[in-house]
Point group: D2
Chain length 137, copies 4
């Protein structure tokens, strides 16, 4: 599978007094990963909302392997491993760009909500199509 890579630099505000990134902040980095994956495929997440859908997170898992430090550039890898149906599953690995070491591994699952009815729905077809095209499925 293709592995999409996005970069993010650790800001001071992302650290805590352990002198590395606070555990909750990796979910923001995952967000940047999937956002840039979609953008590169011509479908910024903003457009999904404009089409009347939003994609809240329904499940998240993170394995913290090694601390990430202030001012490091991190590589957020994102892979969609299956054609989305009722959920979108995205696997993530975050590495230190300079040190190479794996910082965290994990995944995110997104639901699809119809903004009009505020009810869960299947992944919108235009989003499924973008993912199928990207992965040549």
């Amino acid at each position: 599978m293709k592995v999409h890579k996005a970069e993010v630099r650790v800001s001071y505000s992302d650290t805590d007094q352990m002198k590395f990134v606070y555990n909750g902040n990796y979910l923001k980095y995952f967000e940047i990963g999937r956002t840039e994956l979609l953008r590169e495929n011509g479908l910024p997440y903003k457009k999904i909302e404009e089409q009347g859908y939003y994609l809240p997170v329904r499940e998240a898992f993170i394995k913290y392997k090694s601390p990430a430090f202030y001012d490091e550039v991190l590589i957020v890898e994102s892979v969609v491993t299956e054609v989305p149906a009722v959920k979108i599953h995205i696997d993530h690995v975050i590495r230190s760009k300079e040190r190479g070491v794996v910082i965290v591994e994990g995944y995110i699952e997104l639901a699809s909500i119809n903004a009009k009815t505020n009810r869960p729905t299947r992944t919108p077809q235009f989003l499924v199509d973008v993912i199928k095209k990207y992965y040549e499925l």
Copy 2:
């Protein structure tokens, strides 16, 4: 003037690698101060939004006097110093509950927006009334 006091405990996520509270987080503590002031006067901020208004911040000033540390309880003091007209001005002092020392001083000014028109408006009268009553103005 009456000084309203609210308490907030410094969480781990609020610190950074300087081992005290990150400078941007005091604006969250100011928010807690004004929110609790309004709640105690029978007007939770949520109700203001339900009435069709929201109150974005239009100006903020913070003087950092002393660091605040992880797990400290802070006292957020809030004073409304004048009857609001086009803006609501709130003076804040944050102190360490245990150590007494002043952590930050500053103020916040809020605008009032009519949610229907998305246009600035005068401070809603029901909010002015709550403040006048509290301060016996």
Copy 3:
């Protein structure tokens, strides 16, 4: 097993434009849960660090069941399900206090690091003892 309960109120800064709590912020609420559990047992987390240990998160899992809204009080339930050895496993459920509904379920696993050597270590015995006493194990 005893279920420890801590309360946290959703602040404005915790919401995002979906108009409910941002997915990453529940890890801050989990932190409040385990912090208050330890405090009630006479062992504030701060004291653990003062003893020369820190407890970084090594794994986190969150299942998002229902959105939590601005200004809601949430109940963070925490249960330590086994005597800690190399890791501390804490199960969490977060509920809306007023609505009763489950917001998220999940768990956190903490490692123990010896601050002097910066190396992983077994859970410090004084912490194991506190947990055994609390759960009468």
Copy 4:
């Protein structure tokens, strides 16, 4: 004076339920502005800490002119208007890259702390030199 420009994209986590950037988050954007200014002058902030100094914020002022929206790229302008002595004063303007509109204006003042003594000190000379060279003062 030279105006340094850095870019930052508004993430989902930076918004709140008013559907624009939460007021406290601009201080993170100011941080990115001054960090990149220093980096481009060969002095990453990290190196300042490695030299035994840190630069906590001692004063902040923000005037919120217009909301910034999810996924917008913002231009953070930074200008050091005077040779630093006991404080470093940095003026900031943040604009929407695409819309041109001014989002916030403000400033930050930094103190210098000697990490060994934990006492305030004059701005370290190597940092003064970098600023003088950049502005040809």
